[in-house]
Symmetry: C2
Subunit: 230 residues, 2 copies
């Protein structure tokens, strides 16, 4: 009985995710679903990313937390439209679901947005099973978490298009073996794109931003036809 209900929930989620995807594509918006453990630095990366993208690339954020609006408060300082979802109101759900993202997106003027970041709830397990209608999925892995996490949380890493290996400024103070971590990521997902960053020092953000801008341009071309000077 439990399994049946879970299947039904996932089927509903898939339907709602398809609706989100259609909406976002109609608007030519590039959408990222960012997942990670608590405290990996998702919000800090987004803060730095928004500061570099805006105003050239108009961005919006949907951010999920079980409790508090702290992340939304931090991100709103960028000037970007930010919608906070607190799942504590919905029984403390441990992941974002497509219908919740759809409702949040309705609160954003999507015609003025080129890239939408969905900052998922800090959880390396449950969010992986829920398509939100995104174009790409990324996982943020802090180097303080250890090399073995891609193997232990394989589903998330398998489902993602890119990994942001964050807090690399701390590497001199850790026993973390970066080569082993990258080998573990590739063992789970050979095609994973890997960015090495420090939200604190700014290291590696240029490469990440350049990739992002390229994706935003490509999404626009795919969905609105090739526009000159875009």
């Amino acid at each position: 009985m439990e399994i049946k209900v879970v299947r039904k929930v996932l089927a509903v989620n898939e339907r709602m995710a398809a609706e989100n995807r259609k909406l976002f594509s109609n608007k030519g918006i590039f959408v990222l679903n960012l997942m990670s453990s608590p405290g990996s630095g998702k919000t800090a990366i987004l803060e730095k990313t928004l500061a570099r993208l805006l105003p050239k690339v108009p961005a919006a954020v949907i951010v999920g937390d079980v409790y508090t609006t702290r992340d939304a408060d931090r991100l709103a300082r960028s000037g970007a439209p930010v919608v906070q979802i607190t799942t504590g109101d919905f029984g403390g759900t441990c992941h974002l679901a497509a219908h919740v993202v759809g409702e949040a997106a309705a609160g954003i003027n999507l015609d003025a947005v080129a890239v939408l970041f969905i900052e998922n709830i800090g959880n390396l397990i449950c969010p992986g099973g829920y398509d939100l209608g995104e174009d790409v999925r990324g996982v943020v892995l802090s180097v303080t978490e250890g090399e073995d996490k891609p193997l232990k949380y394989a589903c998330i890493f398998r489902s993602c298009d890119f990994t942001v290996l964050n807090k690399v400024d701390l590497l001199p103070h850790l026993t973390f073996n970066k080569e082993e971590a990258i080998a573990n990521i590739r063992a789970i997902n050979p095609n994973m794109q890997i960015f090495e960053t420090s939200a604190m020092t700014g290291q590696g953000l240029d490469v990440w931003i350049a990739w992002l801008e390229e994706q935003v341009r490509a999404k626009r071309c795919r969905t609105r036809g090739a526009l000159a000077n875009d």
Copy 2:
């Protein structure tokens, strides 16, 4: 319909947790349920803890992961009996449940155990709702995760008896404000016992071990009557 099933699952879990609790108490075993984000250092703390407790205080470990037996392999080197639960076999469940712990405990000679550590799956949300039959619940919080985590993952922090604030050796390299973190913990849970540790350098482990030994002695006295020299 979904809610009904979840309620039923939790009611079954409570019944199984009560059975575990009765079994552990009959044997005079002190049981800890350790929860945290991925990569907070639960396993490293347990490695150091087992090395100091054994052979004086006989200990066993039940360790949960979605995938891999890496943590069990690390902990088994201590010589303690270790049972790994990999929930990937059960549909990738994101938390330990009482019946799974009961089955794992059946594989341990409990008559030879004074303290049982249950290392839960790395997840700051879902494990909080599942009583495993433990005496105390602890959350390991790495200082690399940020001061705000007790507020954002309030349910886990509210349900715990103690916090292990780990990786304090990294404090000189972080902007982490320890006083703010502790204030946040106390705002959620005024009675929280807080240990500051570094599994890497050993800092703070003496206080943690002394507390543990005291709890083990107290549990034995409560359940077997006061024994001299115990």
